[in-house]
Subunit: 290 residues, 2 copies
DNA sequence: CGTTCAATTGACATTCTTCAAATCGCGTGG
DNA sequence: CCACGCGATTTGAAGAATGTCAATTGAACG
């Protein structure tokens, strides 16, 4: 399985939330101290390994690091020693630009691999901080070193992860460059929701772990625009927002906005073609069936 | 060596130009039919290989495909069979979005690896088209397959390429999301220039191989904005533009704009801190020393 | 030398940002 | 248990950068 989705919905595969309420039917808890018993095995690099490889992998990995909210996993310029699999909570990746501003690269959720953009270089190109109490597994970078020829499956797994993440980054890049505020926010929400669903969490009602300004930074919008757009969605009865608590009432409507389609309340047929940069959407009154 | 630069200048490592005039001292020509003799060996995956591996690699690779201008290397949804190293010319990667618009992912120049975002999936997530007469080497995807355990160095090389490209994509994403039109264009030009320099081409005077609307799409700007910003740069005597021909007169000034710094003509000292989204720059008259 | 399309330029529309102020929540302490 | 205070969020109003539409210019090429 991929860490990052290949779903056609979203260009926001690093968007993340916190994960308190699990659906009863599919409860997952982080493993204690073995890759073999880990609930994230299927999404971790361990998935790719043969049984003999996994033993070695298991002993090389440092299991279940705990992080407090706001604690850093690593900082920019730190020497690269490991990559990490998120077990619980959520991790924000950001970078300080030359002029001192913070650029948010992505948010990572349980089962996802952090810091693979640091492979092959000496120091981390970005910082990783926990947005809430979190835990991670630490995978020594030496496992991927040039010399380490004994685990080809591990390498192949990493390659797939990287390729996936690259695709996601490409999509997110397009998103930031070309979409309206409404489209970006809609994609963000839809993506978060889909990822929750994939992990068997509640996906129609959840708690965002990051601030409005984090979201804005991530989407290339001002904090105020994020806030305003949330309320607009609420006025359209697409969602209910209360601080970081989100409830989605009309997923189809949101997905429609995702495409830059503001006709979802009247007539689904009018789709526009040929616009290199699709134009946004005008706020309307507030009268849509849930 | 990396296909994509790790230079601190640019978030635009897929920006590309055509490469007619080589500097006399460092003339490079694409190899004919051997990786060992290829001038791009140092930037190709072949670099990572041991001598026994390179033999195999050499026989597996299909050397020197030729492409006419406008000819496709592959199209979105095509089955993934190979990745490609650009030997000459330039390749544009783009994607058709759900509403029919074209999203440009990047531009690739000689020595760079194309289609590594297709590894691990069945069909290409994007299309690749030659912007000018070009040539590529074709590397069968089977070399990276799960079963192919005999070339760990090749895998490691690929991993590094992927990680690099991921970092570049992250940077480009930030660029599209947060920077002003002037910053984006300045970064674009500086990046193109640095990449030319790296490959021993003339870097103060070159020919862009893509149209204004391609640049705009790639940077998340309207074609007209690209055009206007080019003329603004020209009025500032930073560059000379004549259609696709670019001459850079004041690299420092361009790099200053890159940082969102509009003070480069007066006082380099005034740098701003603390702005999450640095604010753009006002057009001024036209009186800067070359 | 004319045709054609890309690029430029102008004028205007619009989204989004910015600046500012008001509210809201929530933790703390009385 | 309620008042207080601080940060996060929301909301308002205004301005600015960029997009859109439209007309013009200019090159390249047959």
């Amino acid at each position: 399985m991929q860490l990052q989705s290949e779903s056609n919905t979203g260009n926001l595969d690093h968007a993340v939330v916190s994960f308190p309420p699990l659906r009863e039917s599919a409860r997952k808890l982080p493993s204690q101290h073995s890759c073999m018993a880990c609930t994230h095995k299927s999404s971790c690099l361990a998935q790719e390994l043969r049984s003999d490889e996994i033993d070695y992998f298991n002993t090389a990995v440092i299991h279940s690091h705990r992080l407090n909210s706001g604690e850093h996993l690593y900082r920019m310029w730190d020497p690269v020693r490991s990559v990490f699999t998120v077990l619980s909570g959520s991790i924000k990746i950001y970078r300080l630009s030359e002029n001192g501003s913070e650029d948010i690269i992505g948010f990572y959720q349980p089962g996802e691999l952090v810091a693979i953009d640091a492979i092959g270089i000496d120091t981390h190109p970005s910082s990783a901080v926990a947005l809430e109490p979190s835990s991670v597994c630490e995978i020594p970078i030496s496992l991927f070193s040039k010399q380490s020829e004994q685990m080809p499956h591990l390498q192949y797994g990493l390659i797939r992860q990287l390729s996936n993440q690259l695709r996601n980054e490409e999509r997110h890049s397009v998103l930031r460059g070309q979409k309206s505020a409404e489209q970006r926010l809609a994609m963000f929400l839809v993506n978060v929701s889909k990822r929750l669903k994939r992990n068997a969490y509640r996906y129609d009602e959840f708690h965002l772990s990051m601030s409005r300004s984090d979201i804005g930074n991530y989407l290339g919008l001002a904090m105020e625009t994020v806030s305003r757009t949330f309320t607009r969605f609420q006025n359209l009865t697409l969602i209910t927002v209360h601080r970081k608590q989100i409830t989605i009432h009309n997923m189809d409507g949101l997905e429609s906005l995702t495409l830059g389609n503001d006709e979802f309340k009247k007539d689904e047929l009018s789709v526009q073609f040929g616009h290199t940069i699709p134009r946004p959407v005008q706020p309307i009154g507030a009268s849509i069936a849930i």
